[in-house]
């Protein structure tokens, strides 16, 4: 409990920092007054409420969604390398979005988010069945390779669509790097219901995931209905990933790193690998990392920004390599 509370405190501090820091330096007291509704000037009010608050809220929602999706995928596949980015789910959503925007001409989030869900679901299912072929079943390496193969296919298709359409290209290059910037409050509000629904579904899975960690047979004998649990998990992953990708683009590795960190923390706190703890922990830790990456990206090379997705890949890439280097890729 103490752990959750301290994480929430860290997250709160990061939110405040994210609102306080930016391209234009606004003194902290002015920011606080603007937040409480007594802004010193229209300019400050605008900066705080139409730029920085939506951006921070988006970081919270997207981070929580990706953290949960990663934890859920690692639990469902019992695979330490699972992540919406690595297993091609994000690439599926991204291709579907690019296709619907550039070819079908859809412009609003409510238009293309459904395509994102369909793309995420199709890619995830394809990767799962490719990885499961053969006698040795679903090993971590096979699943990761299948994800990478499907990701390469989808990326090729995406660049085929984008390169024939210069306007799409210009928007694509920012979106593809995974940025929290330039989203309006309305967009953030529109994506929230999907993230909330996905998060509720995910958290409701937690007790069943604990049984699933003991193996399919044991879980079945404990009275879990495996098909139902998987269906619920897949629906949650689809909702969380599709909604996130449609706003901030494909962010790789956040869902990979966070659940491992959550597991270490849970171990320290003495609760062990209990998914009723791991899922909320991941949902709190992931926004911390995403917001921190976003803040650092805003500050280090002013006036340009490094996209949060790029910084996370710089952290997550070495982490992925370290995982691969481990003598035996232990199952989760």
């Amino acid at each position: 409990m103490l752990l959750l509370a301290s994480l929430a405190a860290v997250l709160l501090v990061l939110c405040l920092l994210s609102i306080a820091l930016g391209a234009r330096g606004v003194p902290l007291d002015q920011v606080l007054r603007a937040l409480s509704g007594h802004a010193d000037s229209r300019l400050v009010e605008n900066i705080v409420w139409t730029v920085r608050v939506p951006r921070t809220a988006l970081g919270l929602a997207a981070g929580a969604a990706l953290g949960l999706a990663g934890a859920l995928m690692q639990a469902l596949t019992r695979n330490p390398l699972a992540d919406p980015g690595v297993l091609g789910v994000s690439a599926g959503a991204a291709f579907a979005i690019v296709f619907s925007v550039a070819v079908l001409g859809l412009g609003s989030l409510y238009g293309y988010v459904w395509f994102a869900f369909a793309g995420a679901l199709a890619a995830g299912v394809l990767v799962f069945f490719l990885g499961r072929l053969g006698r040795s079943g679903l090993t971590p390496v096979k699943l990761a390779l299948a994800g990478i193969a499907v990701t390469s296919l989808l990326t090729s298709l995406t660049s085929a669509v984008v390169l024939t359409n210069p306007d799409a290209l210009n928007r694509y290059r920012f979106w593809n790097a995974g940025s929290l910037a330039d989203q309006t409050g309305a967009t953030v509000l529109r994506v929230l219901p999907f993230v909330a629904a996905g998060a509720l579904l995910a958290l409701a899975c937690a007790p069943a995931l604990n049984s699933l960690a003991l193996g399919d047979d044991v879980a079945a004998s404990l009275g879990r209905r495996l098909g139902l649990v998987r269906l619920q998990g897949v629906a949650a992953v689809t909702l969380l990933t599709g909604a996130t990708v449609s706003v901030i683009g494909p962010v790789v590795f956040l869902g990979l790193v966070i659940p491992h960190a959550a597991r270490v923390l849970a171990q320290r706190a003495g609760v062990g690998p209990d998914h009723r703890w791991l899922l909320p922990l991941s949902a709190l830790l992931a926004p911390c990392l995403l917001l921190a990456a976003d803040i650092v990206g805003r500050v280090v090379v002013r006036p340009v920004e490094i996209q949060a997705g790029v910084l996370i890949a710089f952290i997550g890439g070495p982490f992925f390599i370290a995982m691969v280097r481990r003598r035996r890729l232990a199952e989760v």
Binding site: K142, A146, A149, A160, T164, R173, A177, V310, P318
Partner: protein, 358 residues
């Protein structure tokens, strides 16, 4: 003497190979491999001429062949030699270089997935060259040198990070994939940071592009291919003993570490020069050696046939990219990417079925 079963007549193709021994030279002649190479050469030549013949002013295939031989009217000669030949030559050489490099890496690691585009070499070269474009020194020897540096650095990193008392094929692949992700996001950052036109140039190049290639692109690549492909062929003889495992190779008199280092440098050099000239054309290095191996019915990718298959794949991909959608010229990498990814999936399914998938 082997005979084709059932016919009673000795058939050349039914025999797997001939041993030729005319002292002091001896070797093995494989009729099927020779036939495959001849067919690939003919096909590549036809596609090469076809590619040169289409354009704003269509030139008949016969006139193209005449112009290549130096005959015909001056206008045609100018168009063919100055405008269209560099593009076709870059395509031919880049395809061959990528495929030979892919064959070297696939044979060395004994893993068809460990080709340069999967283990991040092209991504590393790509990041370095895009950095060059965004920083404003694109084109020419600068890009070549940057591409070479990027690919070399990535190769060293992959090898060092995958090393843990020896390496396994799959660890190299996965470490390479992790590194190529890091490189890709660095490229994404550079793209978003650059201006709109730089970004368009860089992105067009990043998927592998033959549009607007000039003789300046072709010359360094041709020089590299002229040096490195023969080197690969000479080293390829040692590759076969290396495949038996380090201990056996050493026992057979191969100096394992120097040979492996030379092979890696050759492969990296080929990829780097091809990438600097034409961009990281997706999946050629992965698919072409596999195609050549299947066609020749060999146990490992044959180098010469791989080079020819790579050239054929890139040239026909470019032809398709220019003609499929009238009015737009797609980059060749889009076509090879869309066609090559299923090859990757198929290799994966095969490995999984055989139970060797990690």
């Amino acid at each position: 003497m082997a005979r084709a079963s059932g016919t009673g007549k000795p058939s050349v193709l039914a025999r797997r190979h001939f041993r030729l021994a005319v002292p002091p030279v001896s070797g093995v002649l494989r009729p099927r491999l020779v036939a495959v190479c001849a067919a690939l050469t003919a096909a590549a030549f036809l596609v090469f001429c076809w590619g040169v013949s289409i354009g704003e002013v269509p030139i008949g295939p016969v006139d193209v062949m005449k112009a290549l031989a130096g005959q015909g009217d001056p206008g045609t000669l100018l168009v063919v030699r100055e405008l269209r030949l560099p593009r076709a030559v870059v395509g031919l050489l880049a395809g061959a270089a990528l495929a030979v490099s892919g064959a070297l890496f696939q044979t060395m690691t004994r893993n068809p997935l460990a080709s340069p585009d999967m283990i991040g070499l092209t991504a590393g070269a790509g990041t370095a060259v895009v950095a060059g474009i965004v920083l404003g020194w694109d084109g020419g020897p600068g890009a070549q040198a940057l591409g070479l540096l990027g690919a070399l650095a990535t190769a060293v990193l992959v090898y060092a990070l995958a090393w843990r008392r020896g390496t396994t094929g799959y660890r190299i692949v996965l470490v390479g994939i992790g590194l190529s992700w890091i490189c890709t996001s660095a490229t994404d950052f550079l793209l978003a940071r650059g201006g709109r036109f730089q970004a368009q140039a860089a992105l067009g190049w990043l998927v592998g592009n033959l549009n607007g290639r000039s003789a300046a692109d072709a010359v360094p690549l041709a020089a590299a291919v002229a040096v490195l492909v023969p080197a690969a062929l000479v080293l390829g003889r040692l590759l076969r003993t290396l495949q038996l495992g380090d201990d056996v190779a050493a026992a057979l008199g191969t100096r394992v570490q120097p040979v492996r280092l030379a092979l890696m440098l050759t492969g990296v050099g080929l990829v780097a020069f091809a990438t600097a000239a034409a961009g990281p054309i997706a999946f050629v290095a992965l698919a072409a050696p596999q195609i050549a191996q299947r066609l020749a019915g060999a146990a490992h990718p044959p180098l010469v046939a791989s080079a020819l298959a790579g050239a054929l794949v890139v040239l026909s991909g470019d032809l398709a990219a220019r003609t499929l959608i009238s009015g737009t010229e797609l980059p060749v990498g889009v076509v090879t990417g869309v066609l090559g990814a299923p090859v990757l999936l198929w290799l994966l399914i095969r490995a999984n079925r055989a139970g060797s998938g990690g």
